[in-house]
Amino acid sequence: MNLQTNITVVQLLKIEWLKLKSYSAFIVISLFFMVGILASNYIVFSFKKNVVDKADPIGLVSSSSPYDFDFVWQTCSYVSGWLLLLPGLVLIMLVTNEFTFRTHRQNIIDGWSRQQFINVKIAMAIIVALAATLMVIVTALLFGFASGTSFAVTNFESVGFFFLKALTYNMIALLIGVLVRKTGFAIGLFFVYLWFENFISTLLEVASYKLKENYQFDAGNLGDYLPMNAADGLLRIPKTTLGDLAKKAVAMPHDYMYIGLALSICYLAIFFYWSKNRVQTTDL
């Protein structure tokens, strides 16, 4: 049954590109995302420069900027991480469009295997996450040099965490798209899920506190182990003074970073498997 058309990954991706390149919503959201990353980082950058530095001209509180090299990778990744719902929307539309136009059927009727159909969507989730990451790298370089410091790669792992977070959001979006099929419903569910995870996380925070008090069991906030939070927790406000001035980040204790990393990868594996299984075993 799995004998496949002799078609390369590059050819599959070219076909996916044919579908996307004339799709106006894709272009609009991509532009929003790019402008959004630049704008949100610029707001933080200029807040530090124009408000914090003016209030503290001799640098008593903050001698370094979060956009100095060393910190810039982390800051850009953290700030840009808030915009990752947008690539998620692109993934949802990429998937649900096929169901809306019933082209998911036609692609398979015309000779793709079900496996090829879902594999190319997963590949798109990875590519979109990579493109977003590239955008963050460019932005970080831009602001790093704009703050007048010399290039350094310290803290570059944050960019890797950003990629993981982007991929997690994209895969959640893809999975929701494959499961519910209807564009509006899928987008709604994506936002509801985001809210729901935060809501559950708050409840778990209370439970975690009780566990710690009553049973001396301390694993941080259990809510931080949920899929989106685990990925969110990898990216934190840099430990500059500005970071301390900002609201305390909802993140895992530092010790749990490796757990968060392992968890994110596990969740991704689950999302990959679940979406593949769904497409390969149900009526389309």
Binding site: M1, Q11, L18, K19, I109, G111, L284
Partner: protein, 295 residues
């Protein structure tokens, strides 16, 4: 060689049994009509063959081999609805289809010409009328000139001219030796173009075989006389009909299409001392045959 062989195919949707063990075989070069009323399981079966639906039980082969994706790219299939990207033009949609099939990329102009869409080839699919969408779907099937076509209600939504054009197209493809599997609830459509037929009813195969044997027309001659016993006696020496039956006070004789000769029949009874008071010929419609088979 069997292009398609369906073996004991079952499909259930929850409690509904859409297919209840259907088996048949499509020989190479056949124009194979799958006939049945709405909801008889035609599209479900073609959906399973196209791997968009999962069979509950049973199997099928394509080209005498276990089915695979690369078989599907060798078959031009149009199933149920024209499925295209609404925001793309006909040309761009066909480019995608050709890229997936890995054939027919330089065939796009030709197929658009065949279905008369050349003038609208750069319009978005969303601006097309139902008939145009239907024709684009048929164009997509023809990409790369495949040897096998699967068409599900190909003339749906077409105007009379469009229907005639598609019929001519199918006849032309048949003369080129292509194998065509076509689902339809339009009897005359099947009768006019098909060589073989399978009739489905509520998920079960009623009959399959040569179209001329299954959908054969008959002339029905009805005769009546004052004395029924005498009439029956005279009828025993009558020849040429394939079957007969009593229908109230009348006798019915079934003749192969076009062979009933009323004058000779009248003469026969008169020579045997029976004067007919009723003599008519009825054409048995294809519809009544269809009802007979599916009711």
């Amino acid at each position: 060689m069997a292009i398609l062989e369906v073996i004991n195919l079952h499909k259930t949707y929850g409690k509904v049994q859409a297919l209840k063990g259907v088996s048949f075989s499509v020989p190479k070069g056949a124009v194979f009509g799958i006939l049945g009323p709405n909801g008889s399981g035609k599209t479900t079966m073609l959906g399973i063959i196209s791997d968009i639906l999962m069979a509950t039980q049973g199997s099928y082969t394509l080209f005498d081999e276990p089915p695979a994706a690369n078989h599907r790219s060798q078959i031009g299939t149009f199933l149920e609805t024209p499925n295209f990207y609404h925001y793309l033009s006909a040309i761009k949609n066909l480019e995608i289809a050709a890229a997936i099939k890995q054939r027919g990329a330089n065939d796009i102009e030709r197929v658009l010409q065949i279905v008369n869409l050349t003038q609208r080839k750069n319009s978005k699919f969303s601006t097309y009328s139902l008939g145009m969408k239907q024709r684009l779907a048929i164009a997509s099937c023809l990409l790369g000139n495949p040897d096998v076509l699967i068409l599900d209600e190909p003339t749906n939504g077409l105007d009379p001219v469009g229907i005639a054009e598609i019929r001519e197209l199918i006849k032309k493809l048949r003369s080129e030796g292509k194998t065509i599997i076509m689902a339809s609830h339009m009897l005359d459509e099947v009768e006019k173009v098909c060589t073989h037929v399978a009739i489905l009813k509520k998920g079960e195969l009623v009959v399959t075989g040569d179209v001329n044997e299954i959908l054969a027309h008959e002339d029905i001659v009805e005769v009546g006389a004052d004395n029924l016993a005498q009439l029956k006696q005279a009828a025993t020496q009558l020849k040429g009909f394939s079957s007969s039956k009593e229908n109230g006070n009348l006798l019915q004789f079934f003749y192969p299409l076009g062979t009933a000769n009323l004058a000779r029949l009248n003469q026969h009874f008169f020579n045997n001392g029976v004067v007919l008071n009723h003599l008519t010929v009825k054409k048995k419609s294809l519809e009544s045959k269809f009802f007979e088979l599916t009711n």
